[in-house]
Amino acid sequence: MEQPVKAARPVLELNGIHKAFPGVKALADAGLRLYPGEVHTLMGQNGAGKSTLIKVLTGVYTPDAGTILLDGRPVSPASTLEAQQLGISTVYQEVNLCPNLSVAENIFIGRYPRKLFGIDWQAMRRDAEVLLRQLEIDIDVTAPLSRYPLAIQQMVAISRALNISAKVLILDEPTSSLDEAEVQLLFRVLRRLREQGMAILFVTHFLEQTYAISDRITVMRNGEREGEYACSELSRLALVNKMVGAPATPEPAEAAQHAARVLHNEPLLTTRGLARKGVLTPVDITIHKGELLGLAGLLGSGRTELARLLFGADKADAGAITVDGKESVFGTPREAIAAGIAFCSEDRKHEGAILSLSVRENLILALQAKAGMLRAIPLKRQQQLATDYVKWLGIKTASIETPIGTLSGGNQQKVLLARWLATEPKLLILDEPTRGIDVRAKQEIMDYVTNLCRKGLSILFISSELPEVLRCSDRMVVMRDRKACGEYLRGQLDEQSVLQVIAGEGA
């Protein structure tokens, strides 16, 4: 810590890291180099493999292949504790401390300074104050942690990490629940630590903050290291470009014709000033019958939030939705389903699949809810529906009575797609339908979806993968900072300008 000069050798180096989970390749030849005295940002879209890489680094996962070099020596931490002892500490997004213990206790928990009989409370208090003062924090360390705002709690987590070890500090999305002033406080602390020679790995979604604090950036895409860049040499546009991937392939003529045709269809759904405080600023969009409307933007741009308002998963506090000429605001998903809207959530595990229920039960759930509890779908009909969809969508399952939890991610996603198709919706909202599933299933799902569109179903398609959105959409709305900020017809679609809007440059 005494040498604030930039060392020639990286303190931490990851090379050729591979990690596969059943059905998914999470990391393929991923890597990272971290030098002392730098803030290094790890960027990538959802599912790019950032958190898997962090988990490999901190001993949560064991990599299938690859090396981790710490100070030039190969290490293979088998647990977070071991990683900590080696000198790699992590501060997570959700602060994992004990809110009802004092600040000092939180810093030294599990490692209380001892004296002959019991704990040396005085030493602990003194040391805690010293540690925090290093971070320019002056607070009463005997007060319970919960009395302080989240930012301070995060500082406490950081001082705890520093006290344990001081080579590499990993901050996993530390700013997602902080306000602007708190972020500044955090950055001040990070700069100070950088001066002391600490290597800091910063994971975030926010471009703004990346440029405010980082020295270098590693971009990940599809589980691979896309590249390593000095922050000053990478424009925002180039960064987003690298995160989102290669330009789209040329569009087939048939798709262009469809896009031109559906524009003249009557609108199925229009929103007028649809908004929710702190979540979405007023949005006006129109979806035509048989149209596939793409919704692009980074995480937190408001795309999922818009979808949830359309579906009544959250209630809009301003504006209205008109479906087929009928104006309403949906207070519950049930009302939206009755109006012919279906919503495939981005969070398959928590908001989609009901894991210990069977494929059949999962598949008919929405249809049954739409019919009402008292009008039970006869078992024969349920089995028929399930068997048909399993065959039609090529769902790989031992039987329709197999619990959905035992299926692979892609097959679970297909069951959920079938759940919504069974309700015969007019509008299908797909939020990241291809996240976390293998390439083949991805392609299959996108094929079904575009085919359904040709047959008259309207689709609102949300995806972080710009090429995917560009390839499928008849029209596209781009969102940034919780508002819709650009609309593009197919044909007008120009990837660079879309990227500019997403990145917030020019446009």
Partner: protein, 360 residues
């Protein structure tokens, strides 16, 4: 992948695969296998050590015998366990069952009261309030209790154990307040039929349990109630997004649970011909939870088994009976009960299975 042309959103029909036939191993793996085996083991124990355990006699046209006695005494617990099963399946819990038992019993006893008057040399029983009205009022109070619980859990999103803790204290408190802490005795003969009468040679209480069980079983079979309860219990967020009215459903199960408890309270009051606000239904909620657990329903919610809970209730009552008949001093009862329960729970524990396999 080609799409069928006829219907835009639905696939073409394919022949459904028939369900596989159960084998002996599958039967042993059946969810009811363990509770049934536990019950059978107890019965075998009784067969060996309790003379005349399986004798059934017909006296005055009524069926008598230890088995009938056990089932009859288990009736209130079976009712409570029925309601509790649905609550637990939604990932909830209701610890106010005993209090509701006390409250409904007290209300019925106080409203009916009753005296016997000799009218023209013929004894006649007179109730303070018409019995039907009194029973309806007592059950109504129980339903209100359930609505209160449901409101706290489904509406205010309180944790079920905390939400129902309020009524657990308040319900019994209210019952004690109403009775000044005294036992209210009932002298109105027709009321006793509920808890100790016979219909077609079988205790009337059993008919009541059978009727409620039948209604619930029909509801589960003929409506999507079972599917929705499981969906809510396993993943409430996903269930809501699929269009299930989760709040209404949760509200309903708490109302139903309290209604069952209310009915059990009437049964107990009728059986002991009085209402004891201090002791009626005391800790019944814990026995009900136990019965549900013994029956194989996980406290984590989701999959549930009504039949399992009924068997669970019977296990508890048989155990009590066995302990008494074996001449074990009553003060040992609780300890023995806890040991048996511990054994059954261990047999269901995944962690224990792992440890066991690791050793072997």
């Amino acid at each position: 992948m080609t799409l069928p042309q006829s219907r835009p959103l639905t696939p073409e029909p394919v022949a459904a695969t028939p369900a596989p036939r159960p084998t002996a191993v599958a039967l042993l793996r059946h969810e009811l296998a363990k509770p049934l085996l536990a019950l059978a083991a107890l019965l075998v124990l009784d067969f060996i050590f309790v003379p005349g355990f399986f004798t059934l006699q017909v006296r005055d046209g009524h069926l008598y015998g230890p088995l009938i006695d056990i089932v009859n005494r288990a009736a209130p617990l079976m009712l409570a366990a029925l309601g509790m099963t649905l609550v637990i399946a939604t990932r909830g819990i209701d610890i106010s069952v005993g209090a509701v038992v006390a409250l409904s019993g007290t209300m019925a006893a106080m409203l009916i009261g009753g005296t016997m008057v000799i009218h023209n040399g013929v004894p006649e029983y007179v109730a303070k309030t018409p019995m039907a009205l009194a029973l309806a009022a007592a059950l109504g109070a129980a339903v209100l209790c359930g609505a209160w619980n449901g409101l706290l859990v489904a509406g205010l999103k309180l944790q079920p154990i905390v939400a129902t803790l309020i009524l657990m204290v308040a319900g019994r408190g209210l019952a004690q307040l109403l009775t000044d802490g005294q036992i209210v005795t009932v002298y109105y003969q027709p009321f006793f039929f509920l808890g100790s009468g016979y219909l077609l040679g079988i205790p009337f209480a059993l008919w009541v349990v059978a009727a409620v069980l039948l209604v619930v079983a029909l509801l589960l079979k003929k409506t999507a109630l079972g599917l929705f309860i499981q969906a809510v219990g396993i993943n409430p967020v996903a269930a809501r997004l699929a269009g299930v009215r989760t709040a209404a459903l949760i509200f309903f199960v708490y109302v139903f649970c309290s209604a069952c408890a209310g009915l059990a309270g009437l049964m107990i009051a009728s059986n002991i011909k009085s209402a004891d606000a201090n002791n009626a239904g005391l800790l019944l909620e814990l026995d009900a939870i136990l019965a549900v657990t013994l029956g194989g329903t996980s406290l984590a919610g989701g999959k549930f088994s009504l039949a399992g809970s009924m068997i669970g209730a019977l296990i508890i009552q048989t155990l009590t009976y066995t302990i008494y008949s074996l001449g074990v001093p009553p003060e040992v009862n609780m300890v023995v009960k806890s040991i048996v329960v511990f054994a059954v729970c261990l047999s269901q524990s995944a962690g224990f299975k792992k440890m066991w396999k690791g050793r072997a």
